[in-house]
């Protein structure tokens, strides 16, 4: 909503010259002023703009050197006329015109100077409406009313300079889409009275009755609770006065003609859109308010042909739709220069219906953007009154007696009336509002207020009837003008202190550990390209897909993080950074069966799992300078996974994945399992074909770990375990094994066979080549023996070692080397 400050001052006479206090107060009380634009002649009417004068053409003649220019002698109240060279030709001797003298600064910032035009001095400029920002009219210079005195400052007659306040009007306040609503707010915020607008209607002076000119049939009262109309004769369609053009222009509307301008002006004033029909073009002199027929065409005022559907409301004449109700009229019933007989509509339409129609047709207008907020059914009569008076006063019209007022069968919704208990405002606002203050605020906001026994009996004004319906809503009315008075108090919180949950602490621990291990955290989109889930082997019914995606590449929720992480790698490699090692703790989504509940017993509409995803390619550490980086290969990322899990106290083992999915390297993929527990996730080199498909040619290794699975596997508060005070005995053995034997199995078997005295077993070498036979390898193990209560003897150690070797030979066909 664009509010010309000069118009606002006319409605609230006590306002200061400078709008800044109004801007601040309105912004706090609920109508945020997004911007203040200075328009027109800077400072005009505020001590500036004195160079803009009323002038009179005394005489004019041709320019000696230019056919299209005239030399004009203009009286600007200086005693001596001024010579002005002018390119327009739409004026005559004796016409009153607008003049800017040298030194004046135009709205576009240009300063007018004395100049020679084709060798002749010009001591000023005669002005068009467009040059002053009053309209888009640039056909010629402005011709002013003859009674204006030459030499008078122009701003005494025309709002030359102005501030325009650009308001952000919230969805609950359609009343502030009208100047009267804004003025009411300003009056309450500033403690100022409004200008008395009465009389707000006019007498009918024509003969006959409105029904002689039009009849109205309300066939869709559910979409139109009220339809009012009046008729006017002897209308003289012409141009509007300058003040009206100026206010329309500053409010963002174009001047069309005086009749249309009146309907737009009254809409801007009251917030209630109106529509004027040329009565001679209304077929059958009949207006039918009905639903459109499916597929019914209409050519709107903007020249476009539109096809309607049966849920759209139209205002039709006897034959065809004349207006898409509340949105836009048809070309052939609009008011033209020839119009003399008018039907003026003021109606209330269902907001949802207008919104739906406007959306479906992709057509928004000043009218639809107001109706879609849901306007009240009482405003039409107010707007009809204002518009009638202006049509009579500005367009020479005579009003025909009678007002058509068709209403839905159950009548107009009543104004809300209820009692606001005294205790409520302090209970919600934290301050006491004295009785006088309550009365003052509410009365300035046009509420009817009466003091009851222990509360206020209020009746809500019709322009607020859908917003204020409960006592709490009145409390807001009181609070919003007192926000600065409300003290700052901290709540006396007695819940006993807050702590992150296990999962939240685990997440922070993993994030910090990952960053500490050299991984950079990324955040990627939850929505991915269609087909991503299926390309990872998910069945369609397990995916969450959007019914209404916005773009083709964001159409379903992700089931894994690494496709997006490959994109991160691709982007960074392209930017010249081949070493990419990233992680993200992010959510994955799978479809849930109806009736699914979460751990907390509340409904879940998808299965959402938080996952730690890791992806690396190139080297860990850049490898520049004098040392190679660690290649970001499977063993390195597997090591990272172990380190991440070790930080949470979880010991993990990797197991081969039989039948690994086709997006992973068939020989470098493992399930990550907690030792003695459940599956935590996986780590795998991505299949080169898959990675290349997403733009990454280098080898990339990824891992996923499920946060809840890690949490289930960890001991939040580990118990102390005593350790031995006695020295270890270390022995190395080397085994020749068939290549099919998994090293992890060998280690587990060795640990099991070693019993309590075998403290640890580690692999320290794996060797392939002569003299080891083909299909075999040598695995070197370091056995560490230790007892809790004594130093072991060689004999004890040899016995345990023997048991380990015997087990490995028996279970895996191992041969002891050397």
């Amino acid at each position: 909503m664009r509010v010309p400050y000069s118009w606002l001052r006319a409605l609230v006479p006590g306002l200061p010259d400078d709008p800044s206090e109004v801007v601040d107060r309105l912004s706090v009380s609920g109508t945020y002023v997004e911007a203040v634009h200075e328009v027109g002649v800077a400072g005009a009417g505020n001590g500036g703009g004195e160079a803009f004068r009323v002038g009179r053409v005394l005489e004019f003649g041709p320019h000696p050197d230019a056919d299209k220019l005239r030399l004009v002698q203009v009286d600007v109240g200086e005693g001596q006329p001024r010579q002005i060279v002018c390119g327009a030709s739409n004026f005559a001797q004796g016409d009153t015109v607008a003049v800017v003298l040298p030194g004046g600064r135009m709205p576009d910032g240009m300063e007018i100077k004395e100049a020679k035009l084709r060798g002749v001095a010009s001591r000023g400029m005669m002005l068009s409406e467009r040059e002053l920002g009053l309209s888009t009219d640039h056909a010629g210079i402005m011709i002013l009313p003859a009674e204006w005195t030459p030499g008078a400052p122009l701003h005494e007659h025309v709002p030359l300079g102005d501030h325009v306040l650009e308001l952000e009007v919230t969805g609950n306040r359609p009343d502030c889409l009208g100047m009267l609503g804004v003025a009411t707010e300003v009056g309450a915020a500033m403690g100022l009275d409004l200008f008395d607008m009465s009389p707000t209607d006019v007498e009918a002076t024509a003969g006959g009755d409105v029904r002689d000119h039009v009849t109205v049939s309300l066939e869709a009262p559910d979409l139109c609770p009220r339809y009012m109309a009046r008729a006017f004769v002897d209308v003289r369609v012409g141009t509007s006065p300058l003040w009206l053009k100026a206010w329309l222009a500053r409010a963002g509307m174009r001047s069309i003609n005086n009749v249309v301008d009146v309907t737009n002006y009254v809409m801007l004033l009251t917030g209630q859109p109106l529509h004027a029909f040329d009565a001679d073009q209304v077929g059958g002199s009949r207006i039918v308010v009905r639903r459109a027929e499916q597929g019914e065409p209409v050519t709107t005022f903007d020249g476009a042909e539109r096809t309607l559907t049966s849920d759209m409301l139209v205002i039709a004449d006897a034959e065809r739709p004349a207006v898409i109700a509340g949105v836009m009229g048809a070309a052939d019933v609009e008011v033209t220069a020839e119009t003399t007989r008018l039907v003026l509509e003021a109606a209330c339409f269902d907001g949802h219906s207008i919104q739906g129609t406007s959306r479906a047709l992709g057509l928004r207008s000043e009218s639809s953007s107001r109706f879609e907020k849901g306007l009240d059914p009482y405003s039409p009569e107010v707007a009809l009154g204002f518009a009638s008076r202006m049509l009579v006063e500005l367009c020479g019209a005579a009003m025909v007696p009678g007002t058509i007022d068709e209403q839905a069968p159950d009548g107009l919704a009543p104004l809300p009336t209820f009692t606001v208990p005294d205790a409520l405002a302090p209970r919600i606002l934290g301050i006491d509002v004295p009785e006088a203050g309550v009365r003052d605020t509410l009365e300035r906001l046009a509420f009817t207020v009466e003091r009851g026994a222990d509360g206020w009996d209020v009746t809500v004004p019709h322009t607020r009837m859908f917003d204020v319906t409960r006592p709490i809503d009145v409390v807001e009315e009181l609070g919003r003008f007192r926000l600065a008075d409300i003290p700052s108090v901290l709540p006396p919180i007695v819940t006993g202190g807050a702590l992150l949950t296990r999962i939240q602490r685990l997440r922070r621990l993993l994030e910090d550990t990952a960053a500490g291990l050299g991984l950079t955290e990324v955040v990627t989109y939850g929505l991915v390209a269609p087909g991503t889930g299926e390309s990872l082997g998910n069945h369609e019914e397990t995916l969450v897909r959007l019914a209404n995606p916005m773009t083709v590449d964001h159409a379903e929720l992700r089931t894994g993080l690494f496709p997006a992480h490959l994109e991160v790698a691709r982007r960074n490699i392209a930017a010249g950074a081949p070493d990419v090692a990233v992680f993200e703790v992010g959510r994955t989504y799978y479809a849930a069966e109806p009736g699914t509940t979460g751990d907390d017993g509340l409904p879940r509409f998808s299965n959402e799992r938080d996952v730690l995803g890791v992806l690396a390619t190139g080297s860990l550490g850049s490898g520049r300078w004098d040392l190679d980086g660690i290649p970001a290969d499977f063993p390195a990322i597997a090591g990272l996974v172990h380190s991440l899990l070790a930080a949470t106290g979880v010991e993990a083992q990797l197991e081969p994945i039989p039948n690994a999915p086709d997006w992973v390297h068939p020989g470098q993929a493992a399930t990550v399992r907690a030792v003695g527990g459940g599956v935590l996730g996986w780590v795998a080199t991505l299949h080169p074909r898959y990675a290349a498909g997403l733009g990454v040619e280098a080898d990339a290794v990824a891992a996923h770990l499920d946060l809840h699975a890690i949490d289930a596997a960890r001991t939040l508060v580990p118990r102390f375990a005593p350790f031995s005070e006695f020295p270890p005995i270390v022995e190395d053995i080397a085994l020749v094994l068939s290549d099919g034997v998994a090293g992890g199995e060998v280690l587990r078997a060795a640990r099991a066979a070693g019993g309590a005295l075998l403290e640890s077993v580690e692999v320290f070498d794996r060797y392939v080549g002569a003299p080891i036979p083909d299909g075999h390898h040598s695995l070197a193990l370091r056995l560490v023996f230790r007892a809790a209560d004594r130093t072991l003897t060689d004999a004890e150690t040899a016995e345990v070692r023997g048991e380990v070797v015997e087990q490995l030979v028996g279970e895996f066909g191992a041969e002891l080397r050397g």
């Binding site: 912004s27 706090v28 009380s29 609920g30 969805g171 919104q355 302090p426 209970r427 919600i428 606002l429 934290g430 301050i431 709490i472 809503d473 409390v475 609070g479 926000l483 409300i486 003290p487 108090v489 901290l490 709540p491 919180i493 819940t495 807050a498 992150l500 939240q504 922070r508 960053a515 500490g516 050299g518 991984l519 955290e521 990324v522 955040v523 989109y525 939850g526 969450v544 897909r545 019914a547 209404n548 995606p549 916005m550 982007r571 960074n572 930017a575 950074a577 990233v582 993200e584 959510r587 989504y589 879940r604 509409f605 998808s606 860990l620 550490g621 850049s622 520049r624 040392l627 980086g629």
Partner: protein, 367 residues
């Protein structure tokens, strides 16, 4: 019989002549080793006539002790010199680049999220989680957002395929939540008052992605419900929070606004932390001539930072145990991405999700 004095002189001479630890060790072996004449003399002392044993043994031992002491002190001196030499040789150019170890960084969104969480943890608010795929009931109806509200529409909100029948007017239709306020209802369903919780999380809206919009972004919701909570408590909490986030001395202003699920509703502005409310460009910007007003607040002096309000009785009334006659409360929501942008001063929201490592690694601090 060897001449002890001669042996001692020779040994002393050799030990003193040794220029390195190795030469010294050789001299020690020669003069004090197992087969050195002096050592052999002392070993074989029983083979001497009894009358000589005492004198020779005594003189031999004196000589050996003296030579051992000499050898030890020579060793210390030579070793010190050699260590000095080695250290001198080991000197490195410390200005050369260090070896590159792996180094990681937390994403600015994580850092900001934790900061927000920590401020509220300190005030006694628990952090709760909530799902992102929601029903229209949780997303709109229970938040007092009626059918017909513009947000409740497939043009603004993502709906889940197969669960979008009668979208916008069907409590069972499934959406990607458009705000973290959905966590309000779930928190209330799980606990009885007093309730003090925050919920950071992801939300989705059908917005075109540009420098200030995204189809996915992050918010944190706060909800407090207790007996006797008023707008004054909301104001105090917001001030406290914003002071910790942006600076203790900054003014905070509440403006009336509209949200379906709060009444009264407000927006909170914090005085610009860069220009301190003056709207003037920073000294650096002014000097460069590129900016004629504060870049952070665009010269407004205020930064619009969050929506808030007193929980609407219609929302309280949805959950058993939250009688609006007895309890009142407040809620607010803040954009985590926006706070990150403000704190770090980067100009484009998309940078958060593009993950150029040159971007993420700039923010190595841990809040």
């Amino acid at each position: 019989m060897p001449d002890i004095e001669q042996l001692t002189r020779d040994a002393r001479s050799d030990l003193e002549a040794a220029a390195t630890v190795a030469e010294l060790e050789a001299a020690k072996v020669a003069h004090l080793g197992r087969s050195a004449p002096l050592v052999l003399l002392l070993r074989d002392i029983r083979e001497l006539p009894p009358e000589d044993r005492g004198r020779v043994g005594k003189a031999g031992n004196v000589a050996r002790k003296e030579l051992e002491a000499l050898a030890a002190s020579r060793h210390d001196a030579l070793a010190a010199v050699e260590l000095d030499d080695r250290l001198r040789a080991d000197a490195i150019d410390v200005t050369l680049p260090a070896r590159s170890m792996p180094r990681g960084t937390l994403h600015p969104l994580t850092q900001t999220r934790r900061l927000l969480e920590d401020i509220f943890l300190g005030m006694g608010y628990d952090v709760v989680d909530a799902p992102e795929v929601e029903s229209e009931w949780y997303g709109f109806t229970a938040l007092n957002t009626p059918v017909g509200h513009p947000a409740r529409n497939p043009s603004d909100t993502f709906y889940v395929a197969g669960h979008d029948a009668d979208a916008g007017a069907n409590d069972d239709a499934l959406i990607l939540r458009t705000q973290t306020s959905t966590a309000q209802l779930r928190a209330m369903q799980l606990r009885k008052p007093p309730l003090y919780v925050v919920h950071p999380g992801r939300v989705y809206r059908r917005d075109d992605i540009d420098a200030t919009h995204s189809d996915m972004f992050h918010q944190m919701e706060a909800l407090a419900i207790d007996e006797g909570l008023t707008l004054a408590h909301l104001k105090g909490t917001i001030e406290s929070f914003l002071h910790r986030l942006f600076g203790e001395e900054l003014d905070v202003r509440l403006r009336t606004h509209f949200f379906p699920f709060t009444e009264p509703s407000v927006e909170a502005d914090v005085q610009c932390f860069s220009c301190r409310g003056t709207g003037d460009p920073s000294a650096e910007d002014a000097a460069s001539g590129a900016f004629d007003r504060c870049r952070v607040c665009r010269g407004e002096g205020w930064i619009e930072i969050m929506g808030a309000g007193m929980v609407d009785p219609n929302v309280l009334g949805v959950v058993d145990g939250y009688d609006p006659e007895r309890y009142s409360g407040f809620a607010f929501g803040i954009g985590i991405d926006r706070v990150a942008m403000l704190r770090h001063g980067f100009p484009d929201l998309r940078m958060l999700f593009q993950n150029d490592l040159r971007f993420v690694r700039q923010f190595a601090g841990r809040p």
